[in-house]
């Protein structure tokens, strides 16, 4: 017979975690939920509106456009940054002074605050005084990110690639360093080509760090706010208005707290869902192999 001794003391040990999580996640999230289902005029005048805000948000064509823009942006930068980051990592020197120098050079963009990055590119891309903008003008290309939507897009993408490719590169670099030298030696003895070495030795080792890198880059780019805000302010028109900018306009610009709260929740769920799908797919792909 088993004797079961009930002891509730264990709950006290878990309590600190509950308190911390409550303050860091649950309470703020519940505040947003609170706003998203009520119409609040002042602390004493509020009406429960059910799903009305959600319905309104879901039918808002501005948000639809921002959402599409957001997806295009995130996938564009992933498609550019991941292969580029791998290439940079493969080309970085592995030994001697060159290695530490390359590491520092590659890491510099990561150390610059977002709004500074925006400012740098704002000046860099200006057609009259910016190095990049003036260069484009001089070689005869009519480049102006503040009036031409394509140029604006190009600049925002370029800026993000410049800012965040180093993250992928550093992750891959560390992954590559973990491959023992004998693997390369064995490949040489097997007379394997450079491509075969990449495909069968390096890429499998990079798979794990790449999953992390892609998830980080997706989440981060999906929430991008500061850089386009500083660079273009979402313009020209709404050409570079991404989801978080729409949200801020709604919440602080127009002070529509209810719809903004509903929108925040939808936004949060989208990120959660996409990341989950992405992660499960990749993990399943690895398991199948």
């Amino acid at each position: 017979m088993q004797i079961k001794v009930e002891n509730n003391k264990a709950w006290f040990l878990v309590l600190p975690v509950f308190i911390i999580v409550a303050f860091s996640a649950i309470i703020p999230l519940m505040t947003v939920v609170n706003y998203s289902v009520q119409d609040i005029f002042d602390p004493y005048t509020r009406y429960f509106v059910g799903t009305e805000w959600f319905e309104q948000v879901m039918q808002d064509s501005r948000l639809h456009e921002a959402l599409i823009r957001q997806f295009i942006f995130s996938f564009t930068i992933l498609i550019i940054e991941v292969p580029l980051g791998i290439c940079v990592a493969l080309m970085m020197p592995t030994k001697g002074r060159g290695a530490s120098l390359a590491l520092i050079l590659v890491a510099i963009p990561l150390l610059i605050p977002w709004n500074v990055v925006g400012t740098i590119w704002q000046i860099f891309g200006r057609a009259d005084i910016g190095l990049f903008g003036a260069f484009m003008t001089n070689i005869g290309i009519d480049y102006n990110y503040s009036s031409n939507p394509i140029d604006a897009w190009l600049t925002v993408v370029l800026m993000d690639v410049w800012h965040w490719t180093p993250l992928i590169a550093l992750l891959c670099y560390s992954g590559l360093r973990s491959i023992p030298e004998v693997y390369y030696q064995a490949a040489r003895i097997d007379q394997a080509s450079r491509w075969a070495v990449f495909r069968y030795i390096q890429l499998p080792k990079l798979a794990n760090v790449l999953v992390i890198g892609m998830l980080l880059r997706f989440m981060d780019s999906f929430m991008i706010y500061t850089e386009p805000f500083v660079l273009t302010g979402g313009g020209p028109g709404t050409a570079t208005t991404f989801l978080s900018q729409s949200l801020v306009q709604q919440a602080i610009g127009q002070f529509d707290i209810g719809p903004a709260a509903a929108f925040s929740l939808v936004y949060f769920l989208i990120i959660l869902l996409v990341c989950w799908v992405f992660y499960t797919t990749i993990m399943n792909m690895q398991k199948d192999k």
């Binding site: 004998v182 064995a186 003895i189 097997d190 007379q191």
Partner: protein, 362 residues
């Protein structure tokens, strides 16, 4: 297919890693490179493979100078201490990989892969990934990859070190049997004298980048040319005791005397270093002329079902290799019997000048 190294040296950043090595490996031979860590075994193998170029000297394959020929153009394979396989390819694809790179016909690939896998007893696991196998099976896969293409030279760089004792013995036996029927040159690096003895074939003893002695394994063991070889080629190392030979008797460290016996009678009077194998000293006398020595116990080191007994008398230390497990306490006084007709004698420079008659016959 023979491989000859002529006056090969390799100097890296001013340090001599391989110093003037001359050796010839015959076709169909099994060669053991025996040496301690950092003795240059791996460096020598890399030179044989063509992964590195010698600083001086020539490497000749079948009479053709291949010194500058890169590894890609030589037909060799190598097995490492680590289990090196392509992690995301199945065992089948791993074994097939060298053949695929040689653009071989699919049917022939299939035949060879299955044949090699059966030989190494990994045929039930062909569909698995290497990491889903045990260490021994992973190393078998790596070996299959090395053996599947008909290389002229197969290099083994301490391939069994990372396996457990039982597996090591098993795989070692199989490996030896595998090479009996092949006509390629096998080179096997190891730090363990017992492994060299178990593998047989030829043994080359390496120390600090120099080749000390090369020959049939048993001959090198029984007839070491110098003290270093004798010390390296036995586990525990051979006991060395300083002594003097006069007209009538042998004196160890001025204290222990015994009459010159028939075996040692050939030695001219003078100073020598005498070597006696740890397994030849016993706790009971085996022959009439065994020398009785009172000693004190330092340590009884039990290894498996054997005991390495470290003892000392006031002037020298000895190690005994006893079969069975023996318990002794520190400082215990015991008597050991020193076989005076099983002594090696080395001169002051460490060169062997006398080996026991019975060892010479072998």
């Amino acid at each position: 297919m023979s491989l000859t190294l002529q006056n090969v040296s390799r100097v890296v950043e001013g340090e001599t890693w391989i110093d003037d090595v001359n050796l010839t490996l015959e076709p169909g031979s099994f060669n053991v490179l025996l040496g301690r860590t950092l003795s240059g075994k791996t460096t020598l193998m890399r030179l044989m493979a063509g992964l590195d170029k010698p600083t001086k000297g020539k490497i000749i394959m079948n009479g053709v100078d291949v010194t500058g020929v890169p590894v890609r153009e030589r037909n060799i394979s190598m097995v490492y201490q680590q289990f090196i396989n392509y992690p995301n390819l199945s065992v089948y694809e791993n074994i097939a990989s060298p053949l695929r790179l040689a653009a071989m016909d699919e049917k022939e690939i299939d035949r060879r892969v299955r044949e090699t896998a059966t030989m190494l007893r990994i045929d039930p696991f062909l569909d698995r990934l290497p990491l889903q196998l045990s260490g021994g099976q992973q190393q078998r896969t790596a070996m299959a990859r090395a053996l599947v293409k008909d290389s002229q030279i197969v290099l083994f760089d301490e391939p069994l070190v990372n396996l457990d004792y039982k597996l090591r013995e098993e795989l070692r036996q199989e490996l030896r049997a595998l090479f009996k029927i092949r006509n390629c040159i096998a080179v096997y690096a190891t730090t363990e004298p017992n492994e060299a003895l178990a593998l047989g074939g030829n043994t080359a003893v390496l120390n600090e980048g120099r080749l000390l002695q090369m020959g049939p394994t048993a001959l090198v063991y029984h007839q070491p040319k110098n003290i270093v070889t004798a010390e390296m080629f036995s586990e525990p190392p051979i006991n060395i005791v300083k002594g003097r030979v006069s007209e009538e008797e042998v004196t160890f460290d001025e204290t222990v005397h015994f009459r010159l016996n028939s075996d040692l009678r050939g030695l001219s009077p003078g100073e020598y270093q005498f070597g006696v194998r740890a397994s030849h000293i016993g706790l009971v006398p085996h022959a009439d002329d065994d020398l009785e020595l009172p000693v004190r116990v330092d340590l009884a080191e039990i290894s498996g079902s054997e005991t390495f007994l470290h003892v000392h008398n006031p002037h020298f230390d000895l190690v005994l290799h006893l079969s069975g497990v023996h318990a002794y306490h520190v400082d215990q006084e015991i008597k050991v019997y020193f076989p005076t007709h099983k002594l090696y004698a080395f001169d002051a420079q460490g060169k062997m000048v006398h080996s026991p008659a019975r060892m010479r016959d072998q």
